[in-house]
């Protein structure tokens, strides 16, 4: 009798239902280590990015926009702190903004045709998507500099507040630069480029 009572009281509690049994199975897909999906990447610090930015700015001042673009795409920050990643994105956007619309396609074609160019444009596409994510989630300000999340308005109705992204002139401008580059990159590197950004585990 007592055994039965103990048994029922144990089963009455349904805490056991919430145990994630997949986490306990070492072969389970939950325990799949996605780090095995790419070779180890060298860590890039914020100081390295700053140094690169200085070099890229120098190239830009010297009028070598293509060199500057290649320079910032050849060492993507696949492994680094959030600040380093943010700084690298900032550098790429800066270079993109300084290139005239008429120069975009010839420059992309020449990068694509050069050795390792396909990889470069894949990296560029990754930065474009990262830039769009940052500008659309930033609530005004000098986005993508400040990737702060949208905080709900005091009213509790976040929809009533100004739409993120549309609120500030600079965000809109940055987005339009990214969008026009996106269009040009797809023209040159094809849809395969977008597919690679989605499949690739090396995130910028």
């Amino acid at each position: 009798m007592s055994i039965i009572r103990e048994h029922t009281s144990a089963t009455l509690s349904d805490a056991w239902r919430t145990i994630n049994i997949d986490a306990l199975d070492p072969d389970s897909s939950v325990n799949f280590d996605t780090a095995s999906l790419h070779p180890p990447q060298p860590e890039i610090s914020e100081a390295d990015v700053r140094q690169l930015t200085a070099q890229v700015r120098q190239l830009l001042r010297g009028g070598d926009a293509e060199g500057a673009l290649r320079g910032c795409l050849e060492t993507p920050v696949y492994n680094g702190s959030e600040q380093a990643r943010e700084a690298a994105l900032q550098t790429v956007v800066e270079v993109l903004q300084s290139i005239k619309a008429s120069e975009m396609t010839p420059m992309l074609k020449s990068v694509y045709g050069s050795p390792g160019g396909s990889e470069c444009l894949d990296v560029l596409m990754k930065y474009l998507y990262k830039g769009m994510a940052a500008t659309s989630s930033a609530s005004g300000g000098s986005a993508p500099r400040t990737p702060t999340r949208v905080t709900p308005q005091q009213t509790g109705f976040s929809q009533i507040g100004p739409r993120p992204g549309a609120s500030s002139e600079s965000t809109g401008a940055a987005m339009s630069v990214l969008l026009s580059w996106h269009e040009k990159v797809v023209e040159v590197a094809g849809l395969g480029c977008i597919g690679r950004v989605m499949t690739d585990w090396r995130r910028v």
Binding site: D27, E119, D122, A189, G195, R196, D200
Partner: protein, 363 residues
């Protein structure tokens, strides 16, 4: 180049297709059944339906010499269909897997077949005389995810597999008493069961959709979801490969690829048409589409007549009918296979698509 032979069988996706050696029978994996079509003049007529699976049939293969058909399905089973005078007789295979079976291929020796599965393993199946039963041995390590595709080496011992963990691997599937000891190759010399002879991944690590050994067996190609194909040239057992060449394309991903000799690969997939790659150990590149576009009768001249133009405007509200793709296949190509070969070269290959078409192409 002669026009391709197009057979629009039905409006369902074709997961996989296989021709018999004499090209008179065509087996199609359609939904939960295997349909057998027979050639009648220029068309294919439905002859038989093999019903044995109760979930979607994922893959099918006809052994060219014995005529046995093997099919596998999401119901976790594989069936071997033995041709008898009374029709095909199914035999269940003991796969021992608890996820869907995804892909099946006969070995060139036809004494074994390999079944890839969502259970992170490959079941290598062979016939056990004393039990009168198809049994299987599992290739398990180091597969980390669903096996999407397998391909046999010409020696029937080495097996290549592609998986959703982004790796293409080469295994030994040597089974004592079934296989003769294979000649040493660049992949390995001593090959006990489940020897991993190679494990490859490309930089952007997409799911592997298709793998294939070159006709000599000394190179391996695989297509991944990052719109790339990668060719691996092994050097010697336990050594890093001589060359791993990865070509990222501007196209959509490829679902299936075949070798045409040692210097050409044909791949097809989400772009609804087949493409050629040419090269060798020093490098590979995309050399163009197999299909010649703008063939007569593909819409080009129809738009010229004014009547047709107004008809289109009236019916569809626009001048141009842009609902038709310019390619023969109107949807993703799921599988391509050699149809007619001369030596190592492929003279014709067949493709099946989500649009329910089977097309036989001249290379």
């Amino acid at each position: 180049m002669a026009a391709p032979e197009v057979h629009h069988l039905f409006h369902n996706p074709i997961a996989d297709h296989s021709f018999s050696a004499d090209h008179k029978t065509l087996a199609i994996a359609r939904d939960t059944t295997v349909e057998l079509y027979g050639r009648a003049g220029n068309a294919f007529k439905l002859q038989d339906e093999l019903k044995g699976h109760d979930k979607t049939v994922t893959s099918i293969d006809i052994a060219p010499n014995s005529g046995r058909i093997v099919s596998c399905s999401q119901d976790r089973n594989a069936l071997v269909w033995e041709p008898t005078p009374q029709g095909y007789k199914p035999t269940l295979v003991l796969l021992r897997i608890n996820r869907a079976a995804t892909f099946v291929r006969w070995s060139p020796s036809e004494t074994k077949f390999a079944v890839g599965s969502g259970d992170r393993l490959i079941a290598v199946c062979y016939f056990e005389e004393e039990n009168d039963w198809w049994v299987s041995k599992h290739l398990k390590k180091p597969i980390r995810s669903t096996v999407t595709t397998v391909a046999w080496h010409p020696n029937s011992v080495l097996l290549a597999a592609g998986s959703t963990d982004a790796h293409a691997r080469v295994f030994s599937s040597f089974i004592k008493g079934v296989d003769a000891r294979p000649e040493p190759t660049a992949w390995g010399e001593r090959l006990p069961f489940n020897t991993v002879c190679g494990e490859y991944m490309n930089n952007s690590a997409g799911w592997v959709h298709s793998v294939a050994f070159s006709p000599s067996g000394d190179a391996l190609a695989f297509a991944a979801h990052d719109s790339s194909i990668t060719v691996v040239y092994p050097s010697a057992p336990e050594q890093p490969p001589k060359a791993v060449i990865s070509i990222s394309t501007q196209l959509l991903p490829f679902m299936s690829l075949i070798w045409n000799g040692e210097a050409e690969i044909i791949a097809a997939g989400y772009d609804c048409e087949a493409f050629r790659f040419r090269g060798g150990i020093e490098g590979w590149q995309l050399s163009g589409a197999v299909e010649t576009k703008g063939r007569p009768g593909l819409g080009g001249q129809r738009e010229e007549s004014a009547l047709n133009m107004f008809k289109q405007m009236d019916l569809k509200g626009k001048v141009k009918d842009d609902t038709q793709l310019k390619t023969v296949h109107q949807n993703t190509i799921t599988m391509i296979r050699p149809y007619e070969t001369s030596g190592d070269a492929v003279a014709k290959f067949s493709s099946s698509g989500v649009d329910g078409r089977i097309v036989i192409w001249n290379v």
